[in-house]
Amino acid sequence: MVTSLPATRMGTWTPDPGFGVYVHIPFCTHRCHYCDFNTYEGQDDLHDTYVEALVADIRRWPGASRPATSVFFGGGTPTLLAPARLGEILGAIGDTCGIAPGAEITVEANPETVDERVFAGLLAAGFNRVSIGVQSLVPKVLLGLGRTHSAERAIDALRAALRAGFDDVSADLIYGSPWETADDFARSLEGVVAEAPDHVSAYALTVEDGTPLATLVATGRVPDVDPDLQAERHGLASDVLGAAGYERYEVSNWARPGRASAHNVLYWCAGDYLGFGAGAHGHIAGERYWTTRLPRDFIAAVASGVTTRAGSESLTADRRAGEALMLGLRLASGVDLDAFEQRHGPVLHARRSAIDGLVAAGLVERVDAWPSALPSETLGDCSTKVSNNSRGTRKRGANGLRMTERGTMLGNEVGASLL
């Protein structure tokens, strides 16, 4: 029987990307130089109480209007916790919010924390997608980034996940660090491709304020990243990954057809999601909120029965639309403007001249053909059954807008003028 895959799995913009749940695990054994996420090292003694608080916080949540179509465990390093404990949290989500059949349930994993046994445990706990932080397969680059695992360990992790039976495996790479040559990055790309994961994320190293890396750059001990060079590396990623059958569906994300991350596509479609755990963000219909960042405070809040919410913002309709455009255009499919206005109201008229300017500058282009769903029967061994260009049939007469290749690299210009 031929059933359609959701657009989110296709990596295509959609006005209804489902409903997501994000869970944050704010612990790492070691914090990397470049990392500005909400994560803490040396708090092992808090792990159990944190899980208990997290579960309790989920269970006291009033519930969701619809079951989750995607769940994502991020960090930090979720796999610092035993699979069974992660399973407990997932169970609480299922009980409180409900999880739709066929939902994508992802967990992030760091190579040094996983092996085949752990992956089997994660599968048993209910996870069906794993995202592994490979970052690089070149020792000096890993060292420069402050990663504690070896290149071999990263490859082992990818293989272990596949061997354990994970059908959806993603590998993360970081490129454009000052220690990395073009050859280094090519080696990392080729090494990852050789393991045939379904999905690859490749991020340009960003020097974020307040990180140890920022201090190193500011004091001249590490050279700053070179945006021109990073643009070249991005091109290299597209070449190598494209040749291996991966399509870029977002600025920094490539997947085999039908293997995009539904949860992340939901973010780019400005969809609704709940966020649980310390420093998690949620968004429901223009209301955004975030929780307290420190694990200790989070635990204390739950223990004393007060909210873990630390702040929120209410978006005006126009700001929400601008944000949705900024996010939606990150997707390679672009945004279906008619559907966009149906959801956000007549917000494009005021942006008409900005759009025309971006079109004239060659940063965005109008598209009249919109990808439609890919039959799920073509899934399976993607490398043989789905060719690189067979991304579903195309719906003619659409009113789409997407970033050009050049525009993608200048996404901030595009985003800023459409906000």
């Binding site: 021109d228 200048l410 985003g415």
Partner: protein, 604 residues
């Protein structure tokens, strides 16, 4: 006091050679100021003067001195501005004097500026009393410099007085020399009034205070008076003398020095050099030597915040009340917005005006690179005055461009003669004269385009001679030159603030310097931005700001949205503040930086 008992003198001295200290001592010795009231640099009243160590506005002080011959004399000490920009004012101060004190530092010898003023005094036929000051300094070489000065003023080295204004040693002798050597004035007491205005300042409460010396006749209180050049009539509300504070008197007799207050609203109605006469019994001719103040250096002055334009306009209006030599007219620039093209006597004058605007009116300003005024002869025979390079017509329609030349005098230790000559030669100087003041020091005179010295010539001269050389210059008229206008274009659009007029042979250097500088200052855009320097349509230098290739947030997930949106909102706000030159967005700070650097020594 009767004529034989009158003396009016000025002090000619280089900065720091002790003029103010000598004045202080004279005030004390003549009991004009009591020891109790004495404070340093008594006469330098404006705080601006004191900060810079130079005198901008002259003051005149009356002192009474009982000489060795038993008679009491009235000595008027007329202060002179000490800088090259105010040469005309100096000449008018000197015209009000009977003699001058040539005050020279016994450890340093005479400097260029002093030499120029000395020549002015000699030309005016004034008695010169040469004085070596600071003989108490260990480094003093009075014999050597007495020799040098005697050569210059054609006197016996023994006639050069040796004093220390600081300790008071020999100052009494200065007073005696004034009485003995300086002739009394020889005006005509019964002739119609002619009083020379040698300075005028604006006072918020009293209006203009004109400082005058009565050359002929008598100036009486309440008398209807006429400014002969300005052709304006007033009534002398108050006349008085400075002793040293203002002291009203009923009349100022022939030879006397004092002030007149007549309800005059701005100094341009009582200009330096004008002659006051009696309205009822007018003199036939004004005193000779009046000259319209002529601005020599021009620059655009713009508020950094466009909203400050009305404040700047008001400030300039107020400033003009007190400064007849300063001129301004509104102009607008694509790069800098609305501002004013201002004309100054010289660079120092420009700096003073700018500083006063910033300090007294609390304005943040940006000034374009200074330029001189050009005279352009057009194909159709018309002549055009160009004070802003932007106004220079197309090269095709021009027969000839003339630029102002100055006679530059440099006094330098002999070992730096080569350096100085090289510097002057590089600036298109033409050697006119060189002679040794002594075996160790030389006076060098060049004719040079003013445009070549208004930037950094003085800085270069100072650094090339370890600070020993001194400089002075005076205008000598216009001369045709091979000048071209160099435009700077951003993405084919000329940027008016960077247009300049230079000698043909220097056009390339300017173009290269400016394009390189701008390449570093202009942020990368969505497209390649060529920066060109061009003469007419001929491009002489080119740089390119390469298009931005990557500017995108790498990670943007659920937890990042608010922060990333704010980042882009900030980016958008920043864009709004940029100036649009064609399609190129340039931050205001880039213009400010580019213009700022131009006033620093060039790295040639």
């Amino acid at each position: 006091m009767d004529l034989p008992h009158q003396r009016a003198i000025a002090v000619i001295a280089h900065i720091d050679h002790g003029k103010s200290t000598l004045s202080d001592r004279l005030l004390q010795l003549t009991h004009t100021v009591s020891d109790r009231d004495m404070r340093e640099q008594y006469l330098d009243r404006m705080d601006l003067e004191r900060e810079r160590g130079i005198t901008i506005k002259a003051a005149a002080v009356r002192m009474e001195y009982k000489a060795d011959d038993g008679e009491t004399y009235e000595i008027n000490l007329i202060d002179t501005p000490g800088h090259v920009d105010f040469g005309y004012e100096v000449s008018r101060s000197l015209a009000a004097c009977d003699g001058v004190l040539l005050l020279v530092d016994a450890a340093q010898g005479i400097e260029a500026q002093t030499l120029t003023n000395l020549y002015l005094a000699v030309d005016a036929g004034l008695e010169i009393i040469p004085i070596l000051n600071k003989i108490d300094l260990p480094a003093a070489q009075p014999d050597k410099y007495a020799e040098e000065i005697a050569g210059l003023v054609a006197c016996d080295p023994a006639d050069v007085l040796r004093i220390s204004a600081k300790t008071g040693e020999g100052v009494e002798g200065v007073l005696e020399a004034i009485i003995a050597r300086v002739p009394a004035p020889n005006g005509e007491p019964n002739a119609p009034l002619r009083a020379l205005v040698f300075d005028s300042v604006y006072d918020t409460f009293r209006g203009v205070i004109a400082y005058v010396r009565v050359i002929d006749g008598v100036l009486k209180s309440r008398m209807p008076i006429r400014f002969m050049v300005a052709k304006k009539d007033f009534e002398a509300d108050e006349i008085g003398v400075m002793a040293p504070g203002p002291m009203p008197v009923d009349e100022l007799n022939t030879g006397e020095v004092g002030y007149v207050i007549a309800g005059i609203k701005e100094v341009s109605l009582a200009k330096v050099g004008d002659t006051i006469t009696s309205k009822d019994k007018s003199a036939e001719e004004p005193l000779a030597g009046y000259r319209e103040p002529k601005p020599m250096v021009f620059a655009g002055i713009y508020p950094i915040e466009g909203d400050d334009f009305p404040l700047l306009r008001d400030a300039l209006e107020k400033l003009k009340l007190n400064d007849a030599a300063f001129v301004y007219e509104p102009e607008s620039s694509g790069a800098l917005g609305f501002g004013f093209r201002c004309g100054f006597l010289g660079l120092l004058h420009m700096e003073i005006v700018r500083e006063r605007l910033e300090r007294e009116f609390d304005l943040s300003l940006i000034a374009t690179a200074p330029s001189v005024g050009y005279e352009v002869e057009l194909m159709d025979g018309k002549k055009l005055d160009v004070r802003n390079p932007t106004d220079m017509p197309d090269p095709g329609g021009i027969v000839e461009i003339s630029e102002p030349y100055v006679s530059v005098m440099v006094v330098t230790p002999s070992e730096y003669i080569g350096t100085v000559m090289q510097l002057c030669q590089e600036r298109r100087g033409e050697l006119k004269e060189m002679h040794y003041l002594s075996p160790e020091r030389a006076e060098i005179r060049y004719h040079m385009p003013l445009g070549e010295i208004i930037f950094d010539f003085f800085d270069q001269l100072k650094s090339g001679t370890k600070g020993y050389a001194s400089l002075d210059y005076e205008p000598v008229g216009l001369k045709p030159s091979k000048l071209v206008k160099v435009d700077v274009l951003l993405n084919q659009q000329p940027v008016d603030a960077f247009s300049t007029i230079v000698h043909r042979e220097k056009a390339y250097d300017y173009g290269k310097r400016m394009t390189e500088r701008l390449r570093k200052l202009i942020p990368r855009q969505m497209f390649d931005v060529p920066i060109q320097a061009a003469i007419g349509s001929r491009v002489i230098a080119r740089e390119t700001v390469r298009a931005k290739r990557k500017d995108v947030i790498a990670k943007c997930y659920g937890g990042d949205v608010t922060r990333k949106r704010k980042l882009l909102e900030k980016q958008k706000e920043g864009k709004k503040k940029m100036k649009q030159i064609g399609a190129v967005e340039v931050p205001q700070s880039a213009f400010i930086e580019a213009l700022k650097i131009d006033q620093e020594p060039a790295s040639t």
